[in-house]
Amino acid sequence: MVMWEAFRNGIARVWENKILALILFLFKVFFAFCLLIPAYYMFARTFSLSPLANNFLKGYDFSLLVDFFTYWNKSIGLYRVLFLFIILISILGYIFLSGGLWGALFQNLREGKQRFKGEKFFGDCGKYFWSFFKIFIFICVIYILAFILGMLIFSLIQAIAGKELSVTGHVLVLITGLVIFALLFMLVDMWGDYLRIYRVTSEEKKLRVILKPSLRFIFRNFGRTVLLYYLLSLILLGTLIAYLGLSKILHFIPADKLLILSLFLVQQAYSLFRSFYRLVYYSSQLVLFDKLYDLR
């Protein structure tokens, strides 16, 4: 099956470019650290010399957190502004970085395994930034439209289900709604990926020029493109469930030093995996695109 082949090939190609996953991971860690430092300062100042802090080893003691929020009330207000600012910068940062990631994966597909060159990578970052920024704006609008469509479909389902629902009925309606939103958002995200693929492979800078062919490609190969995307997402969901299970065990058994260190390592390993896997999305879709439209 072409999707399965694209998936396997996609993993192999990302593996050949492991450094890209590391760059993406470090990108996340950098911005996460920017957000962590002020929060850590407040937390450490409150709790580092308090024996009450040991309560946090058994989960989150809200009686302590309530007073923490009260005491740092004004600083937390400022922190929210900082949070939004850093998130905005990280969005721009990622738009910049993704140019290099797509460029490197496309080069790997066209020319086989290459040595990573920072010059080429950051060159692509700059080269694709403006196009990718326009794609980002466009996709944001499409997300909003998808949200409105999702709400309409959800309201329709609620109307069909009627008012007199059992608890199970309510749960089913809720789950159906969530699945519909997830499917819609995934479609939008997938379209965004194929827009970037068209931009990288065709060297066409104008968004309006690549809109039509990318959409045509998706719909002409709807089964394959969607199935590949959902296959990737299903596997991701599986890993997420496994991580949550493990993290829950590590979080809620009385913690000692070893356990806290293990939790930290598991969290960072999963974060690294998520970076790797996002590139598998890119790479697999690029391979699928290549198989259907011979790029070489």
Partner: protein
């Protein structure tokens, strides 16, 4: 007026009311009783009919004027006191459908029509001759009630009707002849005397109706209507709901027939509501006293959160609350709160308008006890995916983050804002009662509340009655406690500021250290507190500080160096504004901080990952 009243009865009545304080008033006396006969016009949203009021002068004064409340007139225009104070209702009230009124057509006594004056939500009736102490008067009143589209506890929404405090109703008369005749403010609830109610309501056949009291008769009329008659004793309001859409479910819990009136969308909540009712009856029956009626109605109202309300034998629950899993217990909290009001307001009927803490605060405290009893101390509100949030956590959060500008005891309309009213009357009060329990002990607190319920059921206790009885049962002088917490805006915050141990003497064998613990009192409230000092050799030393000064230094000789000190180690002072400064260690606690750092880093990475995933 009742001319058969004997002088000896009058003497006894005056003697009981004046010589003894209110808590030892003798048996229950119905003071304001009503016979009401009305017809509901569902198309015009009109209720018309008449009532017969029987009112007993229990004061020591002659009365030449009677006062009645006309609560529905709060909705008569966009310029009533109630609407102006609410703010948000002002725009709504510009629409005609949201307006309603209670129009008085005639008022008569046994000799004929008598004059009256209307002042928005108050009516005064000038009596042709004074009503003597111990005498009864019977009045007939014809009235018309135009129901507003429901925005606040009274009115209609499409075909659904909800009515409480809806008819001309006697104000409460104090023993000294003072009337509690306040107009309806936005932040006031109600205050009425106990009595017997016989109410007949005529409405279309297809309507399902229930309310306060017991249905005594139901007869079909030739004009496709039916007349349903109710009888209730020892209650101070008659509330009811009617709708053609109600789904009725009945269960018998602990000898009480509980009638649930569900709007179709909320029927699935039935099992959770039943559990809530069971929890309250179990707890309150055993901790305070048995629910004195054989029936209770739980009706879906047609408005959101403000649609949760308490009336005697009748409570309402808001509709269409967001669907939540069973371990997010919003439904449970609301039904437990409203039902606990049966004890604190329904039966022990304090003045909800001028001393609202006596019902709302007591009920919020009771709600927490029941939530803890049923769902545990931790996570009794939310217990989801490892996140545990309790009622006490949320209450403390609300109290801590609010401006402390009003005391607990003051008339509701004199609070700075709705928020200040809510924080003090509901949340701070409930924490103060928790604190009282921690200080006097659970057993004494339980005995006190049981005694309070027994002494004041079907009466109107005041703050002073509450304090006097608390002091009597617990055998403690609580004057300072209540003065600080109830009548003042003072706060409390204890802190361990510094700890150290210095070597004393030169003996190498038996080392001795002078250990110093510096405590601070950052708030104005003075309370004695315990301090637990832990030494490096594991020894624990407990000391008590009376808290009178702003700071205090403990200096004690110890055989090992100090490891940590905690002030109020059992967290008895639940209103301490910053528990996190209650403890101090010599060595830093790196691992809890590292765990936080680890989690927070991962959460932030996940945030950035979302950006990576979606863009």
């Amino acid at each position: 007026m009742n001319g058969k009243f004997k002088p000896i009865k009058l003497f006894l009545l005056i003697f009981l009311f004046t010589v003894f304080p209110s808590q030892i008033r003798a048996d229950y006396i119905p003071i304001a009783s009503y016979k009401i006969d009305v017809r509901l016009d569902v198309k015009k949203k009109l209720i018309s009919g008449q009532e017969k009021i029987s009112f007993l002068n229990t004061s020591t004064k002659d009365l030449d004027t009677l006062y009645l409340h006309l609560f529905p007139n709060a909705f008569s225009s966009d310029s009533t006191i109630f609407v102006k104070e609410s703010g948000y209702l002002k725009e709504l009230m510009k629409k005609e459908e949201y307006q309603g009124y209670l129009k008085i057509k005639t008022v008569e006594d046994e000799r004929g029509e008598i004059s009256y004056k209307l002042n928005e939500t108050l009516m005064s009736i000038s009596l042709p001759e004074p009503l003597k102490p111990g005498k009864k008067i019977e009045l007939s009143c014809e009235f018309e009630l135009k129901l507003p589209k429901i925005s606040f506890r009274l009115g209609y929404d499409e075909d659904n009707f909800l009515l409480c405090e809806w008819f001309p109703k006697m104000a409460v008369l104090e023993q000294d002849g003072t009337w509690r005749n306040f107009p309806n403010h936005y932040m006031t609830e109600f205050f009425s005397d106990f009595g017997t109610y016989d109410v007949s309501i005529t409405l279309p056949l297809k309507y399902v109706i229930d309310g306060t009291g017991y249905v005594t008769a139901e007869k079909n009329n030739p004009d496709s209507t039916k007349t349903v008659s109710f009888h209730a004793e020892k209650v101070h309001d008659f509330a009811w709901a009617a709708s053609p859409d109600f789904k009725v479910r009945k269960v018998n819990i602990d000898g009480v027939e509980v009638v649930f009136l569900f709007l179709p969308g909320d029927l699935y909540r039935f099992p959770r509501w039943v559990k809530g009712v069971e929890a309250v009856l179990k707890y309150c029956n055993s901790h305070f006293g048995k629910y004195p009626y054989k029936k209770l109605v739980v009706a879906n109202s047609s408005i959101g959160l403000g649609g949760a309300m308490e009336s005697p034998m009748f409570i309402t629950m808001p509709p269409d609350l967001p669907f939540t899993p069973e371990n997010v217990r919003l439904d449970e909290w609301i039904i437990i709160h409203e039902l606990a009001h049966q004890w604190w307001y329904g039966i022990v009927a304090s003045n909800e308008a001028e001393e609202a803490w006596l019902d709302e605060g007591m009920t919020t405290y009771t709600t927490r006890k029941i939530m803890e009893n049923e769902y545990g101390i931790m996570g009794n509100i939310i217990d989801l995916w490892g996140v545990k949030i309790s009622d006490e956590n949320l209450t403390k959060l609300v109290y801590s983050t609010s401006a402390k500008v009003d005391p607990i005891v003051k008339p509701s309309w004199e609070f700075l804002s709705v928020a200040s009213y809510g924080v003090n009357v509901y949340y701070k009060t409930s924490l103060v009662l928790d604190l009282l329990e921690n200080l006097v002990g659970k057993e004494k607190m339980d005995s006190f509340l049981k005694e309070y319920y027994n002494q004041f059921q079907f009466k109107h206790p005041k703050t002073d009655d509450f304090i006097k009885l608390a002091e009597k049962v617990t055998d403690q002088n609580l004057d300072g406690f209540f003065r600080d917490w109830f009548y003042d805006t003072k706060t409390c915050d204890y802190e361990v500021r510094k700890i150290k141990s210095e070597e004393k003497g030169n003996s190498k064998k038996d080392k001795l250290y002078q250990t110093t613990v510096e405590l601070r009192r950052n708030g104005d409230i003075i309370m004695p507190v315990d301090v637990l000092i832990e030494l490096e050799n594991g020894e624990k030393i407990r000391q008590t500080w009376d808290g009178k000064e702003k700071w205090y230094k403990f200096k004690i000789d110890t055989k090992a160096k100090i490891k940590s000190a905690i002030v109020d180690p059992e967290n008895k002072i639940v209103l301490d504004l910053n528990v996190n400064n209650n403890a101090l260690s010599v060595k830093p606690h790196r691992w809890p901080v590292f765990k936080f750092l680890s989690d927070y880093l991962f959460w932030m990475e996940s945030c950035i990952q979302w950006i990576v995933d979606f863009f």
